[in-house]
């Protein structure tokens, strides 16, 4: 009795044998098929019987769907089935009309994605123009960006980062897979390079005061 208990609490196989991997694969397949949203490995694990290894099942499953009409894709730390992009032409009926984004919104989004975490002052520095409240709001509302950590610089400005919804929308596994990210980084174009003779961090603090955090956090 004591022995069994020790075994259970340790890493030894539990009393309840985990289902065979083929079966686990079926389970992951069923769960992901049933959901329109990406499902995290942690959630898969919590829904599957004790002792299952969804991460391994996902590897098998992904291989199985290679070249099929639907594919298993990774979105951040979650997974989802999505139709193969080359078959998009068949899905005219399902096309969701997305709100047309302004040029400012698209650029702001790209800047956040490539520079994240990124403060409002940095976005303005890059675009050379003030970022309107509406632009940030729209991106927040679409759940393509969210607040990140505050920057540990004077004024402790908030930062923005892109979300899983953003990754899912653009078919990216992670923000590291953004097109041309490596090249941009290698070219030094993602460096924060302050204007000679000016202190960016001081400016940021100033800026933040002006905008007033109230504006960002009003709601």
């Amino acid at each position: 009795m004591t022995e069994t208990e020790t075994e259970e609490s340790g890493h030894a196989p539990s009393l309840f044998q985990a289902p065979p991997m083929a079966e686990q694969e079926r389970m992951v397949e069923a769960i992901l098929f049933a959901s329109a949203e990406p499902v995290t490995v942690a959630e898969l694990e919590s829904r599957m019987p004790h002792g299952c290894d969804p991460a391994e099942a996902l590897v098998h499953l992904r291989k199985r769907y290679e070249g099929r009409g639907v594919r298993l894709v990774r979105v951040g730390d979650a997974w989802a089935f999505r139709t193969a992009p080359d078959l998009g032409f068949l899905m005219q009926k399902e096309v969701v009309e997305t709100r047309k984004l302004s040029r400012a919104a698209i650029e702001t989004l790209a800047i956040i994605a490539y520079h994240q975490p990124c403060t409002r002052a940095e976005i303005e520095e890059i675009r050379g123009v003030a970022v309107s409240r509406g632009t940030i709001d729209q991106l927040l509302e679409m759940e393509w960006i969210r607040f990140g950590r505050r920057r540990m610089t004077p004024g402790r400005p908030v930062t923005f980062v892109v979300t899983q919804t953003f990754l899912d929308h653009f078919g990216l596994e992670s923000a590291r897979d953004l097109p041309g990210l490596q090249e941009l980084r290698a070219a030094g174009l993602l460096d924060s390079r302050p204007m000679p003779g000016r202190d960016l961090s001081a400016e940021e603090a100033e800026d933040e005061d002006q905008i007033g955090q109230s504006e960002l956090f009003e709601d």
Binding site: F81, I106, E107, I126, R127, F170, P179, L189
Partner: protein, 262 residues
């Protein structure tokens, strides 16, 4: 955008003017001075890394002066940029002053070139991003997601304290009877106020307050007390509003009122 080629001061050909004006009229289309600079830089038809910042500064300044000639109002940040570029131009043209501590004209120019290149790079990155296959347009999620039946199991709980308090509440509820006025014996201040407003016009000289009590409230002591209190409170209110004056010769003496003379 029409080519603003040959867009230089003095070149007053029709084509140049038209080009200049179209650029100006489009000023609303620019997302700030940096965007305008980037557009102007394209006329140099060179790699952004080999762009002549000096020439760009001149182009920008020419643009601003043309805008002024056409009496087009430019936003403040365009003018700030113009001032900065004029300063940069002077730093680039004049031999460097060894005593000057600030950044050199070359450094400032290099930074501007970097900013332009970075903005251009972000533009291209944004375009590449938007050109990607997009969810709901090129690839699709499951159209018929299966409902996760969330079997909601409600567990009701209560503590021993809840139980005892509930019991105590029931067994003693009469003691908890909220204090309520017996409305029959209460003359409210509103009633008194209304009554007195009608009567004060006739109160030319000092009159005892008790005269104003409604007759049917003077018999029963409880009712009389309530009516007196309400009438007194109403008279204070009227005095405050400046309609009447109040007087009492000594403590506990009768209170008299009269209409305030206007």
């Amino acid at each position: 955008m029409t080519e603003p080629e040959g867009f230089e001061q003095g070149a007053e050909t029709v084509a140049a003017r038209l080009a200049a004006e179209s650029l100006i009229v489009d000023v609303d289309g620019f997302e700030g001075p940096l965007d305008l600079l980037l557009t102007l830089s394209r006329t140099q038809k060179v790699d952004l890394r080999r762009i002549s910042i000096l020439k760009l500064a001149e182009q920008y300044l020419a643009f601003v002066s043309t805008a002024r000639k056409l009496r087009i109002e430019l936003a403040a940040d365009y003018l700030v940029m113009a001032a900065w570029l004029a300063y940069l131009k002077s730093r680039l043209l004049l031999p460097p002053d060894p005593a000057d501590e600030g950044p050199s004209g070359e450094e400032l120019a290099a930074h501007l070139a970097f900013q332009l290149e970075r903005l251009q790079a972000m533009r291209e990155a944004a375009a590449r991003l938007m050109a990607r296959d997009q969810l709901g347009r090129d690839f699709f999620a499951r159209g018929l997601p299966e409902e996760m039946t969330r079997t909601r199991r409600v567990r009701y709980t209560a503590t021993l304290l809840d139980l005892m308090q509930a019991y105590a509440r029931i067994r003693t509820r009469d003691e908890f009877r909220p204090y309520a006025f017996d409305r029959d014996s209460v003359f409210t201040m509103e009633q008194a106020l209304e009554r007195m407003r009608g009567l004060i016009n006739f109160a030319g000289d000092w009159t005892d307050l008790s005269v104003y009590l409604p007759e049917e409230w003077t018999g029963d002591p409880v009712r009389r007390r309530s009516a007196t209190a309400a009438t007194f409170a109403a008279s204070l209110e009227l005095a405050k509003q400046g309609h009447i004056e109040l007087k009492q010769s000594e403590t506990f003496a009768p209170i008299a009122i009269r209409r305030k003379k206007t």
